[in-house]
Assembly symmetry: C2
Homo-oligomer: 336 residues x 2
């Protein structure tokens, strides 16, 4: 497979970036950059322009040289990986300014042998996807859309647990960062104030008894404004900005999400689902509520009782029978 690396830095530009970043705010002469990097001043100038095209703010200081002012708040690989404290997730980061769907590329890369922890992130998606064939609206310049390749040594039946573990991890970081009472709507959405703020789409390739790879796709509405969403979503979707009135640094938030997921995934692989089940239950907006579930085989409903060890939603129906639901679309009914 050929991966278009046009938005990855070549090593020349990466060297210049490192050098200039270490002198942030100070004017550095083209001559000294040229000397330090061992390339011509024209080459320096070309690299500066390459960085500028990616959104780096580099001022030209009246023939005295260049001043590095700042990096863009765009999840470029080199920005995300700067001081990224993870073991596995984000060792490889592939950024795309625009893509059909980060999951589609991640699945393709996983099939072609991409290492566990490979992350695909895009500024915008033209065909962002949600669970059950739905779309995920993905405007540019404001939110986070990314997919992570995992290769857990587990049976396929673990996939709901992987989704729930991810929801717990995501919920922890976003709640804490934004100081918001974010809740999980089983199985894969995060809600705040009655609206959806993030979602997860998990895809798996497996044999009967072992997972080959799982791609966990995550969309977080970070800075999107109300009018950045289609009208029909404005009543059901929100963003961190809409809830807090603050603009959020995407890159730093993204790094936090990857770090938490790295820790949580390692813990899940080692200690299993039980701790995440407790955390999921604590943060669930579904449990204890009356719900309706649309399942492939029909509709059911009742009181949401529990999350099982498999990651199913346990419901007590009105006739007293108890069922475990592994697949379905939940509507939480208004409290009477």
């Amino acid at each position: 497979m050929s991966i278009n690396q046009s938005d990855a830095l070549d090593s020349g530009a990466a060297d210049l970036l490192a050098l200039m970043r270490s002198e942030t705010g100070r004017v550095v002469s083209g001559a000294s950059l040229s000397r330090e990097l061992g390339v011509s001043r024209t080459a320096v100038w070309k690299r500066v322009n390459r960085l500028r095209a990616l959104g780096y703010r580099i001022e030209s200081a009246q023939s005295a040289g260049y001043r590095f002012v700042g990096a863009p708040d765009t999840p470029l690989a080199q920005e995300v990986q700067l001081d990224l404290a993870t073991e596995v997730i984000g060792r490889e980061v592939c950024y795309r300014p625009s893509i059909d769907s980060t999951n589609v590329l991640a699945v393709e890369m996983a099939r072609n042998g991409a290492a566990e922890g490979t992350v695909i992130v895009a500024d915008t998606q033209s065909r962002g996807r949600g669970r059950l064939g739905r779309s995920w609206v993905s405007p540019p310049g404001c939110n986070l859309y990314f997919s992570v390749v995992l290769r857990p040594s587990m049976v396929p039946a673990a996939i709901p647990q992987i989704t729930l573990m991810t929801a717990v991890s995501l919920c922890g970081v976003l709640s804490e960062a934004a100081a918001l009472p974010i809740r999980i709507k089983w199985p894969n959405d995060l809600w705040v104030g009655g609206r959806k703020v993030a979602g997860i789409l998990t895809e798996m390739s497996s044999e009967m008894d072992r997972i080959r790879h799982v791609v966990v796709g995550i969309g977080v509405n970070v800075n999107v404004a109300g009018d950045g969403l289609p009208e029909d979503l404005q009543r059901t979707a929100t963003s961190l900005t809409l809830e807090t009135g603050t603009h959020w640094q995407r890159v730093s938030l993204f790094r936090g999400l990857l770090q938490a997921l790295d820790r949580d995934y390692a813990s899940f692989c080692q200690a299993g689902f039980a701790p995440f089940r407790s955390r999921f239950i604590e943060r669930s907006m579904t449990l204890g509520r009356r719900i309706r579930v649309q399942m492939p085989e029909g509709e059911t409903g009742g009181l949401a009782l529990d999350i099982t060890e498999q990651g199913a939603l346990r419901i007590r129906r009105d006739d007293g029978s108890v069922v475990d639901v592994l697949s379905g679309d939940v509507t939480v009914l208004p409290e009477i």
Copy 2:
């Protein structure tokens, strides 16, 4: 995706085949074939040669015409589909004389939208695959290697059940056809007389709560002779021919397998795993035996007690504890 259809009949050759087959054993003049089909005698001659190249036995009767003697015992689509009594499985059959692996092509076709029931069959595989990354030795001209695309409306956790249902279906047809005491070695192999005669490799693509497609790959050692297998397999593998001393018609056996699988899959989709669980248990060579299981997380062993409703193998270990194994490589220990 482009599917190389070079071994599918064009409609002209298919028409000629139908016409000649209806006159099997009788000499039909080129002139009358030319008239019936509305094409030149040269076109008839070309089509005859096309059919001969596929293995059809058509004699030229001294300028009097052609005599259709018989079809090859090769699982060509038009042979397999002749009087195939199925609803879903085999509506599309794609035959390849040689392929890397029928599962690889079936997975690719499934991803590109192949209909449920599409069957890929090959005369030989250069990289036939078994479970746990093993290979499946696939010599030409003697055995059956095929893959079926399924799209059950089920959760991913159903995949072991799909494998076990397939094993039961396959075991039924082969036991009955060959009048052999074939047994199932959990989860996916058929054994007779202490040797493996058939195997199943199931692959799945899914979301967290719905299967997109399952590809069930099946290899059956039909007519392979002892020296048709590599030396290291001769003590562990066998074939219907080796067990019965009879040569088996591949196409007719294949049709029987597809018909049984079509029925069993429909019943599984409607009525679930329970009836197949009973049939699996009846035909299991594992249950009631002392076994050793190599699992991803280590080895265990004990007495094989049961097959669970999920399709797991339930074991009582020597310390009395009972565990359900969903993934592992079983060795049945010799009876003491």
